[in-house]
């Protein structure tokens, strides 16, 4: 059996569901069948061989969960035991394993339920909005399997005391596992939330997660979003985080990529009302053969919006770091301020970096800038430390940690920040 027919079997395996979701899936399946998997010739997939991930032996079958609580417990991020958690297993939402403490503020249910109850209208309106920005087979393929997705709603005026952590488990112990989680979130007016996503590969075999999360933010809401990728060398990932800032709202996203085989992250900020603000930070610390590709889009559709972006990369061994940042300033989006910066350090002599910061501007009263650098560690700084008796290895680790700390400092949640900081310092002291 080849990939295509495997996918087809799995697709038809999905049970009948509410009308909108069913037609959404059909549409996406059609799109996927038409477009297929993007090749390297596709401008948006130029640097990552996503076709190579799709292998014949890929297992996409929808199976009932045999997830054990002990495995979940083991994977909980340190210091977040009190947090609200959502669990996905092999790309499907697990209501039984998800624990929501702050039930008066936060509603979590399956996308299928949401498409049939009082949130149906919202789902109809917002599900699949990311497709306009990623008209490719990968996004559509996720849409075709949306029935396993989850719906999140944070009620008006509520602010969560604890973060909402989404754990994505892929069970690769019985072979190459393909998971496709789908999430739609509504952050209502004046609400505040921290969403954390992290990925766990059970079994350590080959896996592939193709995720789409779409978030809509309301007036004066504040959304903090952290994506932590530390799955292991055999885990592939393509993910889209799509944020519609429907009214003036504030979004703050941090993407940390520490490990993986082929990793692609799309992060979109669509400013649909005046005075929206977004901050995007990213750190990719790569070694081995990892290829990590961060694509970001800031789409300024209304005047007076502001965005700030800083992505940093450290590439060791044969790893490849890719960055593509697009800033669109549409007609009449006057008084837009958009800044973007991408900095890369190449350590490994086989490592490479490809970056494409891209501005497309159709309004004149704007301030936009981008900058990017690719280089090595500063010789002078290294010498300074060496002159003070610090070994070369430690000096390098110190400098790289300082380089990374700009991004880590953006994580507000103390425990999560400390955890990631520890992961990074272990990695750096070991590899530098």
């Amino acid at each position: 059996m080849d990939v295509k027919s495997n996918l087809k079997t799995a697709y038809s395996q999905q049970e009948g569901n509410s009308t909108h979701l069913a037609s959404f899936q059909t549409e996406n399946w059609k799109t996927f069948s038409g477009m297929g998997i993007p090749a390297l010739k596709h401008e948006e997939w130029k640097y990552i061989p996503v076709k190579n991930i799709f292998k014949d032996e890929m297992n996409i079958a929808i199976e009932s969960s045999n997830l054990e609580d002990t495995i979940i417990k083991k994977s909980i991020l340190p210091g977040t035991e009190e947090a609200n958690t959502i669990v996905f297993f092999n790309g499907r939402f697990q209501a039984d394993h998800s624990i929501i403490h702050e039930k008066d503020a936060l509603v979590v249910k399956s996308l299928e339920t949401a498409a049939g109850d009082e949130d149906a209208l919202f789902v109809e309106e917002h599900l699949g909005h990311s497709q306009a920005y990623h008209p490719d087979g990968v996004n559509a393929l996720n849409g075709a399997f949306a029935s396993g997705g989850a719906f999140i709603k944070l009620k008006k005026g509520k602010s969560l005391l604890q973060p909402l952590i989404i754990y994505h488990f892929s069970d690769s112990s019985n072979g190459f596992r393909f998971s496709q989680p789908r999430i739609l979130a509504s952050i209502e007016a004046n609400a505040q939330i921290t969403i954390v996503e992290t990925y766990i590969n059970i079994g350590g075999g080959e896996s592939f997660t193709n995720e789409v999360i779409e978030i809509c933010t309301g007036r004066d809401s504040i959304t903090r979003y952290i994506k932590l990728q530390n799955e292991g060398k055999h885990s592939n990932h393509t993910g889209t985080t799509h944020v519609r800032q429907l009214e003036r709202s504030n979004t703050h996203a941090v993407t940390i990529t520490l490990d993986g085989a082929i990793v692609r992250n799309n992060l979109n900020m669509v400013m649909e009302d005046e005075h929206a603000e977004s901050h995007m930070y990213g750190l990719y610390l790569l070694n081995g053969n990892t290829i990590a590709d961060n694509h970001t889009i800031v789409d300024n559709r209304m005047p007076h919006c502001e965005s700030n972006e800083l992505y940093k990369g450290i590439m060791d061994d044969q790893s490849t770091g890719v960055f593509n940042g697009k800033i669109f300033v549409r007609k009449d989006s006057q008084k837009t301020n958009a800044y973007q910066s991408n900095k890369n350090i190449l350590i490994g002599d086989q490592a490479s970096a490809n970056t494409k910061p891209q501005l497309e501007i159709f309004a004149d009263d704007v301030k936009c800038s981008h900058g990017c650098t690719i280089g090595k560690l500063d010789e002078d700084a290294l010498f300074y430390l060496r002159a003070r008796g610090i070994s070369e290895k430690n000096a390098k680790a110190l400098l790289l940690q300082a380089f990374a700390s700009d991004i880590l400092g953006q994580i507000e949640h103390e425990a999560i920040k400390n955890y990631i900081e520890q992961l990074i310092s272990e990695r750096l002291s070991f590899q530098a």
Binding site: S352, N354, L359, D364, D365, C368, H370, I374
Partner: protein, 482 residues
């Protein structure tokens, strides 16, 4: 200084496209359309050797298999390649031996362009090769150049007289199969300039080519080849104009530069093809492939361009830094107004060790135009200690234009240092206010600020061009303020 500004202002208020005249010269034309016969016709007309015809036919066969590229950020109606006249030569009975023998009508044309061949010869000491429609009409200063061994002549002459050199280098930097338009050019190119600087010679004067499309429905496909042998130096200027016509005309040129060890080539362009009228009607499609190779160590190639014309521009002068310690530079000012579209930039391919490149690109968009910078900096695995600095700034005048940047940076060596910086903004109100306060009206203030914005690039131009280019900037932006 104020006087000079008045001049600029006067020109701003009075001028449209001032090179839009048509010269009534009888032309010897190929029948419309493109086929093997057309190519044989061109080749026969030019009395070319067999290898040249074969080269053309091979390119044509390849071209037929290719598809027109559509990735650039420009929109234009499909070109009907059968509706173009591929060869048009001003009729002359015998080939001219000296300048005096050239058709006076033709000489008037060039005088109107501001390059009186005679005057140029005497006053500025710049050697000029003028190309009208498809063929080269005059080359000045030939004798003086040949004294030091410099060959500077039209491409057709070079094919006849320096066949071996042409055969060796033609297509070595830009192969016919490189892209759609280079294949087309290789098949139908009719003339161009050829320049050869022997070892150790510093070319005693600036070399210059003027291109002009005159006849209706013609396309211009010229081919320029410059070879600088070891330790030589040449500075080359190129200027272009065309008459005002309602229909679009195609210009698909190829320029190849070869710099051997310790050689330096400086290539400057002031491109002022007819940009179309205020409604976006007519104008030249300027689809040009320019590429240089620093073949030896310590070689240097520098591109400077001022782009104010053409309705659609599609052009990326590139440098392949093959020799160790070689240097590539790219300085560009691109101005678009009304409905013009420009997608231009450069490619710096670092292959050798300690190679350095510098990119300074200034884009100015006004009216309803779109201006894109598209560049590539590529550092290959063995390019140890490669260094690049790029800066691309965009200035927006008016709220209906667009400015875009697409820089590609690909680094495969961990000792390389690559920096890229880009900004987009409009002219600050405080800057205008400052000038107004000092008695300058807004239009003059804008001209001043724009010249300041582009100064870094203008400084790279040879004297003769710098003045002209500055005026061109102001003219192209006429009426776009307010």
């Amino acid at each position: 200084m104020p006087e000079q500004q008045d001049d600029i202002l006067e020109e701003i208020t009075s001028s449209e496209y001032k090179y839009g005249f048509v010269t009534n010269i009888e032309a010897d034309e190929a029948p419309k359309g493109l086929s093997e016969d057309t190519i044989r016709f061109i080749s026969a007309k030019k009395n070319e050797p067999v290898w040249m015809l074969e080269y053309r036919l091979k390119a044509f066969q390849h071209w037929q298999k290719m598809e027109e590229p559509n990735w650039a950020n420009v929109i234009y109606p499909t070109i009907n390649f059968q509706d173009i006249i591929y060869y048009s030569a001003p009729k002359q009975k015998v080939s001219p031996k000296s300048l005096d023998e050239i058709d006076p009508e033709l000489r008037n044309t060039f005088e109107k362009l501001g390059i009186s061949l005679n005057e140029q010869k005497r006053l500025t000491g710049v050697a000029v090769d003028a190309v009208m429609d498809s063929i080269s009409v005059a080359t000045t200063f030939k004798e003086e150049l040949s004294k030091v061994g410099v060959i500077f002549c039209s491409m057709s002459e070079a094919i006849q007289e320096h066949g071996e050199l042409v055969k060796k280098y033609l297509g070595s930097v830009v192969p016919a199969t490189d892209n759609y338009f280079t294949a087309l050019n290789a098949a139908v190119f009719s003339d161009g300039s050829f320049c050869y600087i022997p070892k150790g010679v510093r070319c005693p004067m600036e070399l210059s080519t003027y291109f002009r499309i005159n006849a209706k429905n013609t396309g211009q496909f010229e081919r320029t080849l410059i070879v600088a042998e070891e330790e030589s130096y040449v500075s080359y200027l190129e200027g272009c104009t065309a008459p005002m016509r309602d229909e679009n005309q195609l210009h698909a040129a190829v320029v190849e530069l070869i710099a051997k060890e310790k050689a330096e080539i400086k290539y400057s362009t002031v491109q002022n093809w007819y940009p179309g009228d205020k409604e976006g009607k007519g104008g030249i499609y300027n689809f040009v492939t320019k590429r240089g190779i620093c073949a030896g160590d310590h070689a240097k190639i520098s591109w400077t361009q001022v782009e104010t014309g053409s309705s659609v521009t599609w052009k990326y002068p590139s440098v392949i830094l093959k020799g160790d310690n070689s240097i590539g530079e790219f300085y560009s000012v691109a101005v678009t107004n009304n409905f013009q579209q420009a997608d231009t930039g450069t490619k710096m391919i670092h292959l050798g060790k300690n190679t350095r490149s510098r990119i300074v690109s200034k884009g100015i968009s006004a009216g309803k135009s779109n201006n894109s910078y598209r560049g590539l900096v590529n550092v290959a695995k063995n390019a140890t200690n490669a260094r690049n600095f790029s800066q691309c700034d965009s200035l927006l005048l008016g709220d209906k234009c667009g400015a875009h940047t697409f820089p590609y940076i690909e680094v495969k060596n961990n000792t390389a240092v690559v920096e890229h910086e880009a900004t987009t903004s409009k002219i600050g109100e405080d800057q205008i206010f400052y000038c107004n306060q000092r008695g300058m009206d807004t239009e003059t203030a804008v001209a001043l600020i724009i010249n300041g914005f582009a100064k870094e690039v203008m400084n790279q131009l040879p004297m003769e061009f710098a003045v002209e280019a500055q005026k061109l900037l102001a003219i192209s932006l006429e009426g776009s303020v307010g």
